[in-house]
């Protein structure tokens, strides 16, 4: 006869070993001092310096003076789309500050943002920039405008549109400039715009995951031109990288949104401080911090203060000129859209 074996003991030990690490953090997560508040930010990659060096310390001072509480920040920086998906997937950020509106809309559609986040004086937007072409110091290839990117021997960098919000701005800028008749393409001619786009895409040598990775590739010495945000170039120059940039005759105004993620902020009991932080982002103080890092302010008085820092654009257009995000995504970025067609055509030209 077989002896009775203490099966549950062995199994229990195994299971305990597997499950214990998973249980541990639950106990410590909500331990919090009464005078210390915590804010979790989900931010895209490029404004890291503006937040870390300017805005976060300024807000901590502001809140201390107002309420006498310390605010501890936990900040995650990831590509805008990835950040947005992480928040929808359960990364409990109190605030989402992302590159483009559809990434905030995704969080809203998941039911996590319950208020009308666009009902602010600046339509929910906290910073602006423009799409520019970064070049090597002294612009040795003489690049002046979009058409120059398809000259023989010019190597171009732009990130992957599926993973990078920045790349979507870039493609929309070229497409828009072409439709507006500011390039070699005839005005209003979609087919000609696709052709121009495909010629530029044929010169792209590296498609990185995000705008910041793309900059790092350029700084490693690859490529003659990089399509990116003006603020990215300014931030890199502040960090001592040798860049020049050209503003195309016609380019797109980038606007970046931020919103409180209601569900998570309420859960953490931080709705008040989260709301105050988003409002703080458009105060002159925070706008100056953005401007220092190369963002064009949304706030008018700071805009006037720093006007000399930002060259004017001959033909600056906005998303509204192209429709709105849902329309642009459908027309340009969905399967079989302008981008797919240009990419297919680009394969033939190389």
């Amino acid at each position: 006869m077989r002896r009775n074996v203490p099966v549950p003991a062995t199994l229990g030990a195994w299971l305990a070993l597997i499950l214990l690490p998973a249980l541990l953090p639950v106990g410590v997560a909500h331990a919090q001092g009464a005078t210390e508040r915590t804010l979790t930010l989900g931010v895209y990659t490029t404004p890291r310096e503006a937040y870390a060096n300017g805005i976060i310390p300024a807000f901590q001072e502001f809140w201390k003076a107002q309420r006498g509480q310390d605010v501890r920040f936990e900040t995650s920086y990831m590509g805008s789309g990835a950040q947005s998906r992480a928040i929808v997937g359960g990364f409990e950020a109190d605030i989402a500050a992302l590159s483009l509106e559809p990434d905030v809309t995704r969080i809203q559609e998941a039911g996590l943002i319950k208020h009308d986040w666009k009902a602010t004086p600046h339509g929910g937007m906290i910073s602006q920039s423009i799409v520019v072409i970064g070049v090597r110091p002294g612009n040795p290839k003489g690049i002046r405008d979009w058409d120059d990117l398809c000259r023989p021997g010019v190597q171009v960098l732009t990130p992957n549109v599926r993973t990078s919000g920045g790349a979507m701005w870039n493609i929309a800028a070229i497409f828009g400039a072409a439709l507006r008749g500011q390039t070699s393409a005839a005005p209003g001619d979609t087919a000609a715009a696709v052709t121009l786009l495909s010629k530029i895409l044929a010169h792209v040598t590296v498609m990185d995951k995000g705008a910041r990775e793309s900059m790092l590739t350029f700084e490693r010495g690859i490529g003659d031109a990089i399509i990116t945000y003006e603020n990215e170039i300014m931030t890199a120059k502040l960090a001592g990288q040798p860049y020049d940039y050209v503003i195309p005759k016609s380019t797109l105004l980038i606007v970046n949104p931020a919103a409180v993620v209601d569900t998570y902020a309420e859960k953490h009991g931080s709705a008040d401080v989260a709301k105050a932080f988003v409002e703080f982002l458009v105060t002159p103080e925070a706008q100056r911090a953005f401007a220092t890092q190369g963002y064009r302010p949304v706030e008018k008085t700071v805009g006037a203060e720093v006007a000399a820092q930002f060259p004017p654009v001959p033909d600056l257009f906005t998303l509204a000129d192209l429709g709105d995000w849902p329309k642009i995504i459908k027309k340009v970025f969905d399967e079989g859209g302008v981008y797919d067609r240009a990419l297919n055509a680009a394969q033939g030209t190389k």
Binding site: T10, M207, Q347
Partner: protein
């Protein structure tokens, strides 16, 4: 006597409780996630999978992944066997150090491996520029992909062949020489047949590992659709681009390839074991 022996086994770590825990462990860790991917990939049916992988971008990416992995596997089969041969049969001062170095690629994060290659062979580096002048672009082109895959899978063939080679009696080779066979004949007629299954098994593992490689390839390849975009990177960008069904469909194809290969490895390993008995 027999009874007591069984009781000892049953009460120790080899008891049925442990067996159950292990089964549960494998189910939770491997089978359930796999089932989730397959379920996602099958949302559009088998048709959906076919549609997803027959788009030009996906099929080019799959083709690129398969041929770079295959080329790498062939190079690794030859060089890995040679490496094991030298380390086992012709040790030299420092060969033990080299044997340790062989394992190093497994200890380095693949992303770091990719960055190392770009730092070494990037078009702006001396080495990269030299190759560029001779019309060969290494990184941000297909040679870079093969190079990255070679690096990350390097230990596999060496480590598969080494133990088999150590068990071979050098006397057989000596006998072959004594009977007048040249060194090539000796290698092909005496040494190669017994180690062939180990080489094949190591090579298949290389291939399976390479087909799924992301970290190093995403850094060195340049990721241009149709040209240098591999299937794993394509899957990643489809996930990021809110097309999880397409990503899962392409994943299923990679998964099927990997599963087929792993089963053939098992079969070959069984073959090796039988040969050795």
């Amino acid at each position: 006597m027999k009874k007591r022996f069984r009781a000892v086994i049953a009460a120790g770590p080899m008891g049925p409780g442990t067996r159950l825990a292990v089964i549960l462990y494998i189910v939770v860790l491997v089978l359930i996630p796999l089932a989730a991917i397959v379920e996602k990939g099958l949302t559009g049916g088998v048709d959906g999978i076919w549609r997803a992988i027959s788009t030009p971008m996906a099929s080019k990416a799959l083709f690129l992944t398969l041929w770079t992995a295959a080329l790498m596997a062939v190079i690794n089969a030859v060089m890995g066997t040679a490496t094991a041969w030298v380390l086992v049969r012709h040790p030299f001062p420092g060969s033990r150090f080299l044997a340790t170095i062989v394992d190093l690629p497994f200890a380095i994060p693949t992303l770091v491996a990719g960055i190392m290659l770009v730092t070494l062979f990037g078009p702006q580096t001396a080495l990269g520029a030299w190759f560029g002048r001779h019309g060969l672009q290494i990184v941000f082109a297909n040679p870079g992909i093969v190079l990255a895959l070679l690096f990350i899978t390097m230990p596999l063939v060496v480590r598969a062949v080494e133990p088999v080679l150590m068990e071979l009696d050098p006397a057989e080779e000596e006998a072959s020489f004594t009977l007048g066979a040249g060194s090539w004949t000796t290698f092909f007629r005496v040494v190669l047949p017994p180690i062939l299954p180990a080489i094949a098994s190591g090579t298949i593992q290389c291939f399976a590992r390479a087909v799924a490689e992301f970290g190093s390839v995403v850094v060195v390849s340049g990721n241009i659709p149709f040209r240098t975009l591999t299937a794993p990177v394509y899957i990643f960008s489809e996930v990021e681009g809110d097309r999880p069904a397409v990503a899962a469909a392409v994943s299923i194809v990679l998964l099927l390839i990997a599963i087929g290969l792993l089963f053939s490895t098992r079969w070959l390993q069984g073959f090796v074991r039988r040969e050795r008995v």
